[in-house]
Symmetry: C2
Subunit: 302 residues, 2 copies
DNA sequence: AGGTTTCATAGATACAGTCTATCGCCAATG
DNA sequence: CATTGGCGATAGACTGTATCTATGAAACCT
């Protein structure tokens, strides 16, 4: 049985006339005669009572017409829904974001994203890199914003912008008097985030250390870390986007001598069909952050 | 778009695997690959994200699946309903019956019809010949039981049984003393039904009259007529099947010398597709009434 | 590294849908 | 009563498409 035949059936039932029904369907009259006959054979039911003056549905046909109309309506609904979904820049877009980025990046890009891609319903999902990659591979995320490279042939990524680190110092710290701070000078009393945060490893690597301070601090969030530094418990490396918040908490910020930093990327499954959406989201973010890395590195982060 | 493709889509969505879905559909794997791809092209929407390890529906596909399932379910419903309707001896059967036949024939044949054709839901429709033919031609009846021949190439009919007339007399009527009554002897004081009843014309014709008594009586039903005769207002011709009821009302019945009577037929549109149902109904009625005409003509009508 | 699994592609084939042309039937008409 | 027109059915040719087998490409596992 074919959907086309069902439409033919509806047309004949509606017009009560093979010729006019054929015209309405855009086919020839014999086509309808043959197809309706075939349909009757397949169903084992006479659908129309033909005479030279009228073509009227049999009672059996009347009983079937409801289902036929419903089936045709559903397929029309499929086509209509597909039309709505056709735009890859529309619909839900689940975007993972790491915790050291989300609170500072999202306020910057949310409005531009909504403006540039009004049909895209972006659902941010905040978690650490490992968890995000897991969800990405499990099709539970459409893309993720990370500060690390991704591995494996099933994933792909693209750099959106570079985010320099800044030295974060308590106001009374000796280094706070210098205009520029060398990364390795921070190694002595640097505070870092808890395990799992990519920023932890990157900060330690930048200042030449392989391990953290002896388990004394397990800051779960950058916000906690900033408060600890502001209270004089040590120094830290602060991602450029968090500069404003860091200053507000009373921390002194200084550019770094070696320009340590990280690259923020958008990652997706290499087979993800809505590549266009990923690229559009990436483009909006990159555009919003254009020139940011240079400005941040110069220290003009306000 | 094709229903087959929709079934393929459901299979792939269900199995998450082209090979197994193909097996379930009874086609080869390349067939599914090609058809799903074509469907994606037609809808303009990516339906599955393929990799060598998994085939998972896209969010767009998830949204469409509901409609797809509904469409396929409706077509299955069409097939199922057609299976039920396939038997021409099943379903509604609208049967017209003339008023001088219905009250006496229906009680006789209703049970045998139901027994012989349990799936046939017979809906009797009582009206005069002209109205029945009109409804028959308008497809509002499937067949009709009449006592006249039908005219025109669009209708056909078949005699089911012969129904003799009997003389119906008041007990005190002079003719009541005779064992057999001649039709023409009734002409003097015969009472007949109102216009439109075929029995009216047939009774008048049988006793050799062309018009009725001077408009004095317009009996709308045989029952009224019987009561009038029983009350001594005149004589009448009574169809054999009504003999029992007539006797119960106190009328004297006598066989007719010339064996006047009428033939009861079943009529249908010559193009009516459920000829088998018509013939089955006719056969049951004819079988139930077999031998009736002879018995009635002999006067053994009890 | 080699074999296995899985989906995609290519080319051949068979079937099904459609067309034009024509027939047969019926009805209306001169 | 013969003719004409309208309508659906049928025949035969053609075209497009769904399907098959065979093979390719990529990823995964041993």
């Amino acid at each position: 049985m074919n959907l086309r035949d069902l439409r033919y059936l509806l047309a004949v039932a509606e017009h009560g006339h093979f010729g006019r029904a054929a015209e309405a369907c855009g086919v020839s009259q014999p086509t309808l005669s043959v197809q309706i006959r075939r349909l009757e054979d397949q169903l084992g039911v006479a659908l129309f009572e033909r005479s030279s003056k009228s073509v009227s549905p049999t009672p059996a046909c009347d009983r079937l017409l409801g289902h036929v109309r419903a089936a045709v309506a559903e397929t029309d609904a499929i086509l209509a829904a597909a039309r709505d979904l056709r735009d890859p820049l529309a619909g839900r877009f689940r975007l993972g974001i790491i915790p050291t980025l989300a609170p500072y990046l999202l306020p910057l890009v949310f409005a531009p994203l909504h403006e540039a891609l009004p049909a895209l319903e972006i659902e941010p999902w905040e978690d650490q890199t490992g968890a995000l990659l897991e969800r990405l591979r499990a099709h539970e995320l459409d893309a993720a914003l990370l500060a690390t490279e991704v591995e494996g042939p099933d994933l792909a990524s693209m750099v959106l912008f570079s985010e320099p680190f800044l030295a974060g110092l308590p106001p009374e710290h000796p280094l706070a008097t210098r205009p520029v701070v060398a990364e390795e000078d921070l190694a002595g009393d640097i505070l870092v985030l808890a395990d799992g945060h990519c920023l932890r490893d990157q900060a330690l690597a930048a200042c030449g250390r392989s391990g953290a301070l002896g388990g004394s601090l397990r800051a779960a969030s950058l916000s906690t870390l900033l408060n600890m530094v502001a209270a004089g418990y040590g120094t830290t490396l602060i991602p450029g986007l968090a500069a404003g918040v860091a200053e507000d908490s009373g921390i002194v910020l200084r550019p770094l001598a070696a320009r340590a930093g990280r690259q923020v990327r958008i990652a997706w499954r290499s087979r993800f069909p809505r590549r266009a959406a990923v690229e559009a989201v990436g483009a909006v973010i990159a555009s919003r952050l254009r020139g940011f890395s240079e400005a941040a590195a110069r220290g003009s982060w306000s």
